[in-house]
Each structure stands twice: as structure tokens, then as C-alpha cells.
Symmetry: C2
Subunit: 277 residues, 2 copies
């Protein structure tokens, strides 16, 4: 493996969802004071603060905005729902633009009342509908393949291969892939598909955390780096060999960590980032 | 789709784990009296009844023994553990032989302390060690690919493609694949890999249930046929088009159903088998 541990935090980004109990002002202040360099904003912060306000808060802090999470959820058996989803994604692109976030991450969606294939067709139609706006606003889109355990309602795109295929179909500089180790670590084809993704200049984002053994809750029990079974450094190595130079974004949904002191949690994030990422 | 609903129970098999609260005598009596035709025995019944006793109980009832569940769990970072696993699989083959079960299903295992690839190598070594005994005893082995949510500790073989690749490596009449809809329904390559499996005469078993939306517990909340999002009849159609003529084996792990009256549960199994399988 040709990759060495990080010796500084230059490529560390934290998702606001990771420290969910903190409001945006607090999150930004804590990240910046600890030396975190990037932030990915979850749309739920817009419930209390408008995108332009959040932009100003982040700007003052010196943090770099890495992406906005999340758009997607295109499929539905109901045509009106699909149109609402497209409208919501257009709103998300506007928000990303106001936030001056260069990237909108897509959790593509799935409707259990129809086949995964039909859901994928509707994902393609959804992306087709919003891609021109992405280009016009200068906001890239990243398809995040989700672990097959979420194939029922969260995404019918469950492997890097499927994400690459979808990105390849559009072949647009505005559409690429977000690689989250939690979703793809198990996949035998992972290295090959990361290489393919890099060859197409589509490695847009890299999300990190760990898969705990055992996992208590399939949605809200993600682990800190090193706490589970994912060979994170190996995957980072593959990413970098494939040309990725962006941030390592810590995205941890955890009812356990959300209940703990968020300063301590952030310190753990930094320590485990240096030890395992 | 070229497949019609079943009009009788000629191809219905039930796994003893499905009606876990029942002892083997009770299970066999109830299955037989309701018209179920096949039974797959889980090894835990041997805690109270020896294989030859269980054979006699089943024989008297007229049920057909479809398979023994389960062997496997080959990988470990510990060499002694791997040897113990092989010895245990040889015992399972002996049990299957005494039971006159034609098939032993393999849940292949995975050790989170090493890479999935290393675990797969150890699975290959394990199968290699037991395959001669399988042939000698006349008991086939079926690799069951497990859903990627179980990739950490239950199996490093998580797709039909991987199961087909492993079976193809050995190319033995004694080694094939068990297709469980719960594990493979999400996979874009499913139909193609079922065809490939059939072309190699490796479709050894077909397990049915459903993926509930939402799923409360990832291990013990399987649904009755029709209760979730799996297009079971479509998958059965692909199985049959690929040449499969065996039983549809109902394998439901459910803390919910295990707490209910098992006669009622069995009646529901029969009704949903006729409606959805």
C-alpha cells in the first residue's frame, strides 16, 4: 500500500449531521477551532438558517464548503411525487449555489412498490431533469451508491458499478460519484470500479466512518474510523491511486455519539482520522 | 412472465427454524398434516434428537428431507479455529448422511479481523477440505450467498456472482448454489447469474420469504411471502427458466412470528405461498 497516515488535518472535512446536536454556528466554530478544514452541510440546517446566512458563517470561519447533502430520492410509483422530487432537487441546487457549495450529493432513492430496475430508470429521468440546472449554477452532482441494505427505500443504486454506469450514461462533467466506505467496503469489485471512476474523472467525494461489529442499528450506529471492520486506509489508497485529491469527509450517523459531549466526539474524530484514515 | 401461481403444495418445503418454537416431532406432524411436502432440518434439532431418530420421524410422516442447514463458517484469523470449522463441517456431512438429506447448505462465514478477500480464500480452502467427504457420503454442498449486510461476520460471499465463481472454481457435481431471495433480490445481476448457475447445473436450492419495509431487525424480522418488496414470482420464474425444478423452501427468521401460534403461522405460510410464490 502506497499511502501513509495523515500528519495534519488539511484534508479533514466533517458533515454537520455527524455533530447533529450542534447548531450551525456552534458546529462551524468547533470544527474551525480544532483545525478541521472542510465542512459538508446537511440541508436540515436550513430549517433555522438560510443558505446565504450559513455561507457567511462558514466564510468567516475560514472553513471550506465541500458539499451539500443531500438531493435525490427520485423514484416513486406516483408521478406527482416524482415531479415533487425533481422540484425539490432544483431547490437543493439553488441552495447549494447560495451556499457556494461546489457539489450536491445524491441519495438516489427507491420505491419498494416497484422493481429496483424501474426505480433506476426514474433516477435516470430525475438526473436528466436537473443536470442542466446543475451546469447552469456551477454545482456538480455526485451519485452516492448506497449499501444494498438500503435498496428498499433509500437507493436502487447499490454498487460503485451501478453509480459508474449511471454517470457513464450521462458522461457530463457535472455528474460524478461520491464514495462512502460504509456502503461499498464489502464489494469485491470496489477497487476496479474506483479505478474506472477515476479514469472517467468522476471521483467527486470520499466519505469515511466505520462498520461496527456488531452493528446495533442499521441506520444510526455507524462507527468512528478504526472502530469496525473497514480497511479504510486501503480504500483511501485506491482512491488516491485513482487520482482523488479531495477531502476525507467524516459522515457518522450515531445515536450513541450524538448523546455524548460533542467536543469530546470531535476530538475522537480527529484522533481516529489521524490513526486510521 | 411464464410462471403461474402454485395450485397445490407439491413443491412447498418448510425449514425447521421457521417454526423454531416447535420440537421436531411437532414440526414434522404439523407440516405433514397441512400438506407441506418437504422439510429442511436445522442442526439445532440434533441437540435433543440424534440424526437417525430425526430421519425416522420424518420418514414416518412421508415428508421429503430437502437439506440440512447449515455448515460453513470457515474463515478465521486463527488457524486452529479454521481447523475446528472444517471438523465441524465434516460432522455436519455425517449428520446429513445419517439424516439421508441430499444437501448441506453452507453459510460460508467471514472474519471482520481480515479482508473479505482473505475470508474468501479461507472459504475456498474449507470447501476443498470437505468436498471429497461430500462426494464419498453422497451429500451435495450448496453455497448460499448472503446479503452484503452480513459481510462482516456471516459470509464473505455476498452475491450470486461470487457463489457462481466459487462453484466454478471447483467444477464439481457435489458443489452448487442455494438461492435465497432475501439475500439476492436487490442485485442487478441476479437474473444473469441465475441463468449462469443453471447452465452449470448448480441451482441446488431455492429459499423464500420477504424483505419487510421497514425491517425492524436485520436478522430476525423476515417477512412472509408478499409482506415485503421482493418480487418473488419473478425470481421463481427466472429459477424455473434456468432449469430449477426443486422445492420452494420457506425460511423465515422472525421474533414476531415465533411468538405467535405456530399453527396459525403455518396456515399463513401456506396461504402466502399460494398467493405470492
Amino acid at each position: 500500500m502506497n499511502v501513509k497516515p495523515f500528519t495534519d488535518l488539511a484534508r479533514l472535512c466533517v458533515h454537520t449531521i455527524t455533530t447533529r446536536p450542534l447548531d450551525i454556528e456552534n458546529a462551524v466554530e468547533k470544527y474551525a477551532s480544532l483545525g478541521v478544514r472542510g465542512i459538508t452541510v446537511w440541508r436540515e440546517v436550513f430549517k433555522t438558517d438560510k443558505p446565504r446566512q450559513v455561507y457567511k458563517i462558514i466564510r468567516r470561519s475560514g472553513l471550506e464548503t465541500v458539499s451539500l447533502c443531500r438531493g435525490g430520492f427520485f423514484p416513486s410509483v406516483d408521478k406527482d411525487e416524482r415531479e415533487r422530487a425533481i422540484a425539490d432537487n432544483l431547490s437543493a441546487l439553488e441552495e447549494a449555489s447560495e451556499l457556494e457549495a461546489p457539489l450536491l450529493v445524491l441519495v438516489c432513492g427507491s420505491d419498494p412498490l416497484q422493481s429496483p430496475k424501474t426505480s433506476r430508470n426514474q433516477i435516470r429521468e430525475g438526473i436528466e431533469a436537473i443536470l442542466p440546472s446543475a451546469g447552469r449554477l456551477g454545482v456538480k452532482l455526485a451519485i452516492e451508491p448506497l449499501h444494498p441494505v438500503y435498496a428498499d427505500i433509500r437507493s436502487a443504486i447499490n454498487t460503485m458499478k451501478q453509480a459508474n454506469d449511471m454517470a457513464g450514461y450521462f458522461n457530463s462533467p457535472w455528474l460524478g460519484v461520491a464514495v462512502d466506505v460504509y456502503h461499498v467496503w464489502w464489494d469485491e469489485a470496489l477497487q476496479r470500479e474506483i479505478v474506472r471512476c477515476g479514469d472517467n474523472n468522476n471521483l467527486f467525494a470520499f466519505h469515511i466512518c466505520d462498520w461496527k461489529v456488531p452493528t446495533g442499528d442499521i441506520l444510526f450506529d455507524r462507527g468512528l474510523m478504526g472502530e469496525g471492520c473497514i480497511d479504510l486506509r486501503q480504500i483511501r489508497c485506491w482512491m488516491e491511486e485513482a487520482g482523488f485529491k479531495g477531502f476525507c469527509e467524516v459522515e457518522i450517523f450515531s445515536e450513541i455519539y450524538w448523546k455524548t459531549d460533542q467536543d469530546e466526539f470531535l476530538n475522537k474524530i480527529i484522533r481516529t482520522y489521524l490513526d486510521f484514515a
